[in-house]
Symmetry: C2
Subunit: 235 residues, 2 copies
C-alpha cells in the first residue's frame, strides 16, 4: 500500500501569538506581512508546515525566525480550519502561543520583519481570522495563568514582587492587595529571595526573587489560585 490516493491534501500553516511584558502592559508581537495576499498588513508570525517537520517543530522554527529565541514557553492553542479563512487557497492553521522575556528577543531579527509590540488593548486589524486567534490566546493565557504559574515565563530570571504583582494585575486587569498577594505567592514555595535589590523602580529598592525551579516543575500543574475570586473568569 502506497498512499491514501483518493484524498484531498491541504495546506497546513502555524501561526504564533507571541506575548511579552514590558513591566507595565501585556503585549503581542506582530509583523508586517511580506507577501501577497494582504502584503504590508499587520499579521501574526506564521508559516507553512514543511514535509520534514512536526507542528511543534514548525512553531519553534517560526518563533526563532522572528525572535531568535529557542527553548521558551510555546504551547499549542487551537487549530483553525474554516474553509474560507484564507482567500487564496484553503489553509488550515494551528495557532501556538509563546510567552517570552521581552528583553531577550533580538530586535535585529524583528526589524527584518518590521515587527512591533502592541498592547493587547490596541491590537490593530489583523489579516484573515487572526483576530479570533488572538482573542482565543488572550482567553487561554488568562485562564491558564489563573491556575498555573505560567506568567513567570514573561519575566527575567530575577524579578521583584512589585514587578510580579504588576504583571498579574495587568493580565487580569484588576488590582490586588499587596499584602495578600505576597502572602499567596510566597506560600507556594516557588520563590527564592535573593540578597540584592532592584533599585530602578524605587528609592528604597525591592528585593529580587528567582524561581525555585524544582518546586516550579513540581507544582506547575497544581491549581495555585493567585487571583482573588476567579469564579468570574471566562474561558
Amino acid at each position: 500500500m502506497q498512499k491514501y490516493s483518493k484524498q484531498t491534501r491541504l495546506l497546513l500553516a502555524v501561526d504564533c501569538i507571541i506575548f511579552g511584558f514590558d513591566g507595565d502592559t501585556l503585549k503581542i508581537l506582530l509583523i508586517k506581512r511580506g507577501f501577497q495576499p494582504e502584503k504590508g498588513n499587520w499579521s501574526l508570525m506564521g508559516g507553512f508546515v514543511q514535509p520534514s517537520e512536526s507542528l511543534d517543530q514548525a512553531s519553534n522554527r517560526i518563533l526563532k525566525q522572528l525572535t531568535g529565541l529557542e527553548g521558551v514557553y510555546l504551547e499549542q492553542l487551537h487549530t483553525f480550519g474554516n474553509t474560507q479563512r484564507d482567500p487564496i487557497e484553503r489553509t488550515v492553521s494551528t495557532a501556538y502561543f509563546a510567552l517570552i522575556d521581552i528583553h531577550k528577543y533580538e530586535t535585529q531579527l524583528s526589524n527584518d520583519y518590521h515587527a512591533e509590540w502592541f498592547p493587547l488593548k490596541r491590537v490593530p486589524k489583523l489579516i484573515f481570522d487572526q483576530q479570533e486567534m488572538v482573542e482565543t490566546a488572550k482567553r487561554r493565557i488568562r485562564y491558564k495563568a489563573a491556575l498555573h504559574p505560567i506568567l513567570f515565563e514573561l519575566l527575567p530570571s530575577r524579578f521583584t514582587l512589585p514587578q510580579l504583582q504588576t504583571l498579574y494585575e495587568s493580565v487580569f486587569n484588576t488590582t490586588i492587595d499587596k499584602r495578600n498577594f505576597s502572602k499567596r505567592v510566597l506560600a507556594t514555595g516557588l520563590l527564592i529571595k535573593l540578597a540584592d535589590k532592584d533599585k530602578a523602580g524605587s528609592k528604597r529598592g525591592a528585593y529580587y526573587y528567582q524561581l525555585n525551579m524544582k518546586n516550579y516543575y513540581a507544582k506547575f500543574q497544581a491549581f495555585l489560585n493567585f487571583i482573588p475570586n476567579p469564579d468570574t473568569l471566562l474561558l
Copy 2:
C-alpha cells in the same frame, strides 16, 4: 494571485474520542478499522477532512456517522502532527472529544463499524498515536470537569444525585462524602428537583433532578470546584 504554488499539501484527518457513562464506569467508543493499514485493529472513529468542510464540521460528521447523534458536546482537543504518525503517508490529525448520553446512541450504526465501549482502564492497543490522543483526552476531561459542569453531558436529561455522584467518583477515581457533595452541587443552582423518583437503583428511590439550563449556560465558565482538593489534578 492564484495559489501558494510552492508549498507542500498534507492530508488532514480528524479523530474522535467519544466518552460515555454507563452508570458505573467512564468508557470510550472504539471501532474496528475497516481499511488498510491496521485493518481490523481497534481505532478511534476518524476520517479525512473534506475540501468542503471545516474541522468542526468534519468532526460532527464523523461523530454522527458512528453514533447517529447531532448537537452533542464536541470540543477540539489537540492537533497531532508528528511526521511519522501514519506509516503510509504523512497525515496531521486534529482530535476532538465528545461527551454523549450512552443510552442515546444508535447501536445499529455502531454495529456497522463493529464498535465497542471500553472502560478507560481497559482500553486496548490502538493504532498510530491514538493511545496518546486518548491519554490527552482523559487528562482534559478530568481537568475541565474539575472546574466546569461538563459531566452533565454524559447523563440523561433526568438523573439522580447518587447517579451524579457516582459519575464524579468514577471520573476522578475517588470517593466523595454524599452530604458535602449534595451541598456543593445544589448550591450551584444548576439543578431543579423533580417530583418523581427513580426506583430502579434502590427500594426507597432517589429523586430525579434536571439541569436548570439558564443557570447552566450562565455558570458554565465559572470555576465550580465540585472536587475536593483539586490541587493534585494533573493537566
